[in-house]
C-alpha cells in the first residue's frame, strides 16, 4: 500500500472536522476516528482495522559537511574524490602524541548556519569524545559536542504543496534542537571475496555540522521539504555545498507512530538515504511498515534500518555491537570554545583570534525565503513560482538576467523559464550553468516574440534550434527557417493570392457552396 502524502490527509481531516491542535484522548464516534491530526496538523488514516488512528512522528538528524579548505582539527585539505589516503595528516591518522587544533572557518560556518536557523548561539561550547571501535575511526573516538553544542533552540520554516499542486502551498516550521560541530569518519570498503577491509582516511576529520531537528514532522513530504529548505540555506550561506550525492548532506530519520493521547511509539532510525526523493519514500515506507506491523499484533524494535533505494523499502541493519555505550567524556585537549558578540568582545584580544557573532550576523546573505519574497514583490510572480526559481541553483539569477534584457513582462518570462528552460534542463540532467541557451539568447528570443515578429509556436521552434548550441542567434534561426510573422499587408495579400491561384479548382468549388 502506497503511503499517502500528509497534505492530502490533512485536508481530508479538515473536511471531517477532526482538526487539531491537541488530539483529545479517548475514543471518538465511529467514522470520525479514522483520521486524526497531530498538534502540527499531520495525520495518517488508520490501518485496515480502522479502529484507532495513527500519528506518525518524524525527526531528522542531518550531517552537513562544512565547506572549508581544511579539516576540523587538522591542516589537511578537504576534497571530494581525491586518491585514497592522500589527504591525511598525522592527527587524522591518530598518530600518538598529536593534538586537535580547531579550524576557525568551521566555527564560523556553524555560527552562520546557527544564525540562519534562528538558533541561540552558545558563547561557550565544549567538545566531547564519543567512543566506539571502528576501522574508519582511527582514534577510537569521535570529537563531537554532546554536552554544550555551539547552537541550540532554532527553527526552520519550509513550504510544501498539497496534493502536488503548486497552487496550494502551506508553510510549516520544524524546531531545531541543536547544531553541533563534529568530526567526520573515514570510509571503509569491505572486500568480501578477499575478506578484507580497505580504509580511506581522506574524509576522517572533515568538519561536520550535525543539525538535530525535533520530531515535528509527520510524513515523507514534510521531511523532504524541510531538508530541501535546509539544503538551500546551507548553499546560500556557503557553509556546506550540501550535495547529497557526494555525501556532503546525510540525513538520518527517526520515525515512530502512536495513537492520539498515547506516548510516542518505539522509534526506528533509517539511514542510507542519499537523495531527497528517497527521503520522502523511506519515511513514508517506514511509517506504513510500522502501522502494519503494529496492527498485525507485532512490535517495533528500537533498531537502525537502511533504506534500499532499489527495492524502495527499509531493511534492518546488521547491528554488530548490540547496545552501544559511547562512554562520552570531555575532550581534554581543547579548551572551551568561546565566542563573542559586540558587547562582550574584549578590547585587548587580537581580532584574528576571536569570533564575533554580531559581525557574522551583519554579513549573512539573503536567505532563500527572503529572496523568494523579493522575487514575488519585485516581479509580481506567484509565490509558487518563486519556490521553483529558488529550488534550482542559479535559476533565479538567470530569470532576473532575462527580465533585465527583455521588454516582456516578468510574469510571462517566468512561464518560459519554468515550462521550457527548466523542463529541458531536467530532461537532459543539466544545471542552469550548463544551459546551452544563455540568458542573453533567451532574452533575444523573447524580444522577438514580444515585438510580435514571430509567433509563440515559432518561438518554441527557435528555442528547440537554440538547444543545439550551434552559436546561431535567434534572429538568424528565424531568417533561416523563415519563421517571421508577416507584418506587411501587401505581402500577405500576395501570398494569399498565390495560394488561391494554385488551388483554382477548389476555389471554384467553394464559391457556389
Amino acid at each position: 500500500m502506497a503511503a499517502r502524502g500528509c497534505g492530502g490527509v490533512w485536508r481530508r481531516a479538515r473536511q471531517r472536522g477532526v482538526v487539531g491542535p491537541g488530539p483529545g484522548p479517548g475514543p471518538s464516534p465511529r467514522g470520525q476516528r479514522a483520521v486524526v491530526c497531530n498538534a502540527r496538523g499531520g495525520a495518517v488514516p488508520a490501518g485496515k482495522s480502522g479502529v484507532a488512528p495513527w500519528i506518525p512522528v518524524v525527526g531528522l538528524e542531518i550531517h552537513a559537511q562544512i565547506s572549508s579548505n581544511s579539516k576540523l582539527f587538522s591542516g589537511s585539505q578537504v576534497q571530494f574524490a581525491a586518491p585514497p589516503n592522500s589527504l591525511v595528516s598525522f592527527f587524522d591518522a591518530s598518530l600518538p602524541g598529536t593534538l586537535p587544533v580547531l579550524n576557525r572557518r568551521c566555527v564560523e560556518a556553524a555560527v552562520m548556519t546557527g544564525l540562519a536557523l534562528n538558533c541561540r548561539i552558545n558563547k561557550k561550547s565544549m567538545f566531547d569524545r564519543k567512543h566506539y571501535f571502528y576501522a574508519d575511526l582511527p582514534a577510537g573516538y569521535q570529537i563531537t559536542q554532546q554536552r554544550v553544542p555551539i547552537a541550540v533552540n532554532g527553527s526552520l520554516s519550509y513550504s510544501l504543496c498539497i496534493d502536488n499542486k503548486m497552487s496550494q502551498m502551506v508553510t510549516k516550521t520544524v524546531r531545531i534542537k541543536q547544531i553541533q560541530l563534529e568530526q567526520d569518519s573515514g570510509k571503509s570498503l569491505h572486500d568480501d571475496t578477499r575478506s578484507q577491509t580497505l580504509v580511506d582516511l581522506n574524509r576522517a576529520g572533515v568538519g561536520l555540522m550535525e543539525v538535530v531537528m525535533e520530531p515535528d514532522m509527520c510524513c515523507g513530504e514534510e521531511a523532504a521539504a524541510a531538508v530541501r529548505e535546509l539544503q538551500l540555506i546551507l548553499q546560500t550561506l556557503g557553509s556546506s555545498q550540501a550535495v547529497m550525492a557526494e555525501g556532503q548532506l546525510r540525513v538520518d530519520a527517526n520515525i515512530s507512530v502512536h495513537h492520539p493521547g498515547e506516548p510516542y511509539g518505539v522509534r526506528t532510525e533509517v539511514k542510507n538515504i542519499n537523495s531527497i526523493r528517497f527521503l520522502a519514500k523511506a519515511v513514508d515506507y517506514e511509517i506504513q511498515r510500522q502501522i502494519e506491523e503494529l496492527e498485525n499484533g507485532g512490535t517495533i524494535l528500537n533498531e537502525t534500518r537502511a533504506f534500499d533505494s532499489k527495492l524502495g523499502c527499509t531493511v534492518p541493519m546488521r547491528d554488530k555491537e548490540g547496545k552501544r555505550d559511547y562512554r562520552f567524556m570531555p575532550e581534554p585537549n581543547l579548551p572551551p570554545l568561546i565566542l563573542y558578540d559586540a558587547k562582550s568582545l574584549p578590547a585587548n584580544l587580537n581580532h584574528q583570534q576571536v569570533i564575533n557573532i554580531d559581525w557574522i550576523q551583519e554579513r549573512l546573505p539573503d536567505l532563500p525565503s527572503v529572496k523568494r519574497e523579493k522575487l514575488v514583490e519585485q516581479y509580481g510572480i506567484l509565490p509558487e513560482h518563486s519556490f521553483a526559481l529558488s529550488n534550482e541553483d542559479g535559476l533565479a539569477e538567470f530569470f532576473e538576467s532575462v527580465v533585465k534584457q527583455t521588454q516582456m513582462k516578468p510574469k510571462k518570462v517566468i512561464g518560459w523559464i519554468l515550462n521550457h528552460l527548466l523542463s529541458y534542463l531536467k530532461q537532459h540532467s543539466l544545471t542552469v550553468k550548463e544551459s546551452p541557451v544563455s540568458s542573453f539568447l533567451l532574452a533575444d528570443l523573447l524580444n522577438l516574440l514580444e515585438k510580435k515578429e514571430i509567433s509563440s509556436t515559432a518561438a518554441k521552434q527557435v528555442l528547440a534550434e537554440l538547444w543545439k548550441g550551434e552559436g546561431k542567434t535567434p534572429l538568424e534561426i528565424v531568417k533561416e527557417q523563415k519563421l517571421e510573422l508577416l507584418q506587411d499587408q501587401k505581402e500577405l495579400e500576395q501570398i494569399c493570392q498565390a495560394v488561391i491561384d494554385g488551388q483554382e479548382n477548389e476555389v471554384i468549388m467553394m464559391v457556389p457552396g
Partner: protein, 526 residues
C-alpha cells in the same frame, strides 16, 4: 675539560672556550652510557645521529656562531616523546619498533637550539607506574645502588647476593631520565609528569626534577597518559640548569591548544640573599601515613632553615589532598581508556596475526600489546565512563579535583608564597622489596605527595636535599603559584645552596673522569 663541568652553564662555557668540543663531549657521554648499560636507563641510544648533531654543533662553534647555551650539550629524552627517525616505544610491545614521522615540540625546540640527542630513556609502560620497573625493556636501576655512599652503608647478607639483590629502584615513571642525569650520561633530560613521574624519580636519584605549570610547555608529541594533567618534566643536576631548559622549552605552541598564549620570558635564577619577605607554607596533610621518620625530620629541619634565615614559616591546610589518590584514579583511568583506544593495530604499532574478524584482531592486538597495568587501567576507566557510572565517578572526581585545586588557591591567597613538602614517603626501595606490591598499590602510595600539584596544574620542583641513613638521596618538594616559575626556582636555588647535596661517587664515572672528578661534602645535612 673534565666532568667537573657537570652543569649546563659550566660545560657551555667550556665549549665556548674550546676546552672541550661537542664531539668529545658526545663521545664521552656515549662511552659512559655503554659502561653504565647495566642501569638500563636507555631504551634506544641514537649514537649515529648524536655524533652527527655534535659534528654540526662543532662547526657552529668553529664559526663562532653557537645557537645558544644548549648548543652541543648532550641530552636524553624519555621514550614517550616522539622523535623523528628514532624509535619511540613507551616501553610497550604496542609501539616496539615504532618510528614516528615527527618530533615532539619540546624535542624540536631542543634540536633547534643545538642540543645533542643521545637517546631515549626507559620508563614504566606508557608512563603508568612509580618505579620504572614495569616496562617491556625491564626495570631501571638506580645509579646510587652502585655509589660508594650506598655501598659503604648497606650490609650485604652474603657476598654473592651483594649487588644483585640490593640494587634500588629509581622511582618513576621517568626513572630512565633521572638515572641518566644522575649517572652523568647526559646533562639534562626530559621526563613527563602526570602524578609525580618527574619529581619522584628525581628525588630517588638525587637530581632536580621540575614539573612546570600546566599549559606552559607544549604537550604536542608527548604520548599522553592523562591529557589534563600531563606536563613535560625537566631533569637536571641543578636548579640553574632547570631554568635554562625551561627557558628553551616554554611558550605557546599553536599545535597544543592548551598552552597559554602569553609570551614566556626566559630568566636566570637570581641569587636570593634575603628570605625574610618569604612566606613558606607547610601543609599539615603532607604528614601522610607511611612518611618515614627520617624524611619527616629532614622536612622540619628544612622548615627551620627557612625560619632561621628570617622567612615566615606557617602551617597551612590542604584538606582535600587526602582524596587526591581516589580522585586521580578515576580521572586517570578514564583518560587512559580513551587515549589508548587508538591502539588498534590498524594504523601503526603492533598488530596481532588474529584474522578471524576485525573485532578479534583488535582484542588480540590490545591483549598482546599492553601489559597488565595498562589493560587494568583501560578496563576500570571504561567502567567509570559507562553512562550509568559517569555521574557517580567521573563527574564526582572532577568536582573533587576542583576542591583540591581550590585548597591551593586559598592557601596562596592567604599570603603563602611557596609550599614546602616532602617529595616521597621514604628513600628508594630495593627492587626485590618494591615488586612485592602490585603497580596500583605502589602508584597510590608513591604519588600521594606529588599528585595534588598535577590536579591543580601548579609548578613544583624536587630539590635533592640529603642522603638517608642508607646512603640514598632524599628530596624535598616546593610547590609554587601558577606560572610563577621564577619565584619557585629562586627559592629552590636558595635552598639548594644551603643544603649542599653531595655528589654521587660512582666508579664508572670516576674511571671516565680520569680522577679529576670532585667530591663535595654536604655542608648542612651530613
Amino acid at each position: 675539560a673534565a666532568l667537573k663541568d657537570r652543569l649546563c652553564s659550566q660545560v657551555s662555557a667550556a665549549l665556548k672556550e674550546g676546552r672541550v668540543t661537542p664531539t668529545e663531549l658526545c663521545q664521552r657521554c656515549l662511552a659512559l652510557i655503554k659502561s653504565t648499560k647495566f642501569l638500563n636507563a636507555y631504551i634506544t641510544v641514537a649514537e649515529e645521529t648524536a655524533l652527527k648533531q655534535a659534528e654540526e654543533s662543532e662547526e657552529r662553534y668553529k664559526r663562532g656562531q653557537p645557537l645558544g647555551i644548549l648548543d652541543g650539550i648532550p641530552v636524553a629524552v624519555k621514550d614517550n616523546f616522539n622523535t623523528a627517525g628514532i624509535e619511540t616505544t613507551c616501553a610497550s610491545n604496542m609501539l616496539k619498533g615504532y618510528i614516528s614521522p615527527y618530533n615532539a615540540t619540546v624535542v624540536q625546540k631542543l634540536l633547534d637550539q643545538g642540543a645533542v640527542l643521545l637517546g631515549k630513556t626507559n620508563l614504566d609502560e606508557f608512563a603508568m607506574g612509580s618505579g620504572s620497573t614495569d616496562g617491556v625493556f625491564g626495570p631501571v636501576r638506580n645509579p646510587w645502588s652502585y655509589s660508594n655512599q650506598y655501598k659503604d652503608k648497606s650490609v650485604p647478607k652474603s657476598h654473592s647476593e651483594d649487588e644483585e639483590s640490593n640494587w634500588v629502584i629509581t622511582g618513576g615513571s621517568s626513572g630512565g631520565s633521572a638515572a641518566a642525569v644522575s649517572s652523568f650520561t647526559c646533562f639534562a633530560a626530559l621526563g613527563s609528569d602526570t602524578g609525580g613521574s618527574t619529581r619522584n624519580p628525581a628525588a630517588h636519584c638525587g637530581v632536580v626534577g621540575l614539573k612546570p605549570t600546566y599549559g606552559l610547555i607544549s604537550r604536542h608529541g608527548l604520548i599522553p597518559l592523562v591529557n589534563s594533567m600531563d606536563v613535560p618534566g625537566i631533569l637536571t643536576r641543578c636548579v640553574d640548569d632547570a631554568a635554562v631548559l625551561l627557558g628553551s622549552l616554554a611558550g605557546h605552541d599553536p599545535k597544543d591548544s592548551t598552552t597559554v598564549q602569553d609570551d614566556f620570558r626566559p630568566f636566570e635564577v637570581p641569587d636570593l640573599t634575603d628570605v625574610s619577605k618569604l612566606s613558606i607554607g607547610i601543609p599539615k596533610e603532607y604528614h601522610a601515613p607511611g612518611l618515614s621518620s627520617e624524611i619527616l625530620a629532614l622536612w622540619s629541619k628544612a622548615a627551620d632553615l627557612f625560619k632561621n634565615a628570617g622567612a615566615k614559616v606557617v602551617e597551612v591546610s590542604l584538606p582535600h589532598t587526602q582524596y587526591s589518590i581516589v580522585c586521580y584514579h578515576v580521572l586517570c583511568t578514564a583518560e587512559v581508556a580513551s587515549n589508548m583506544a587508538r591502539f588498534d593495530g590498524l594504523e601503526y604499532g603492533h598488530r596481532s596475526d588474529e584474522k578471524e574478524s576485525t573485532e578479534s584482531m583488535y582484542a588480540a592486538t590490545r591483549r598482546e600489546g599492553f601489559n597488565e597495568v595498562v589493560r587494568g587501567r583501560i578496563l576500570s576507566g571504561n567502567y567509570f565512563l559507562l553512562k550509568e557510572n559517569y555521574e557517580k565517578y567521573f563527574v564526582k572526581a572532577q568536582k573533587v579535583r576542583r576542591l583540591i585545586a581550590n585548597d591551593f588557591v586559598k592557601v596562596f591567597r592567604s599570603g603563602v608564597d611557596i609550599l614546602l613538602t616532602p617529595t616521597t614517603l621514604s628513600d628508594a626501595a630495593p627492587y626485590t622489596e618494591f615488586i612485592q606490591e602490585d603497580n596500583r598499590t605502589r602508584s597510590a602510595q608513591d604519588d600521594v605527595l606529588t599528585q595534588a600539584a598535577n590536579m591543580a596544574g601548579l609548578p613544583a620542583i624536587n630539590v635533592p636535599t640529603a642522603l638517608s641513613e642508607r646512603g640514598l638521596p632524599v628530596g624535598l618538594q616546593f610547590i609554587g603559584r601558577s606560572f610563577q616559575e621564577k619565584q619557585l626556582l629562586t627559592v629552590a636555588k636558595w635552598f639548594e645552596k644551603q643544603v649542599q647535596f653531595p655528589m654521587i661517587q660512582l666508579e664508572e664515572v670516576k674511571r671516565h673522569d680520569n680522577g679529576v672528578f670532585q667530591h663535595q661534602k654536604s655542608a648542612f645535612f651530613s
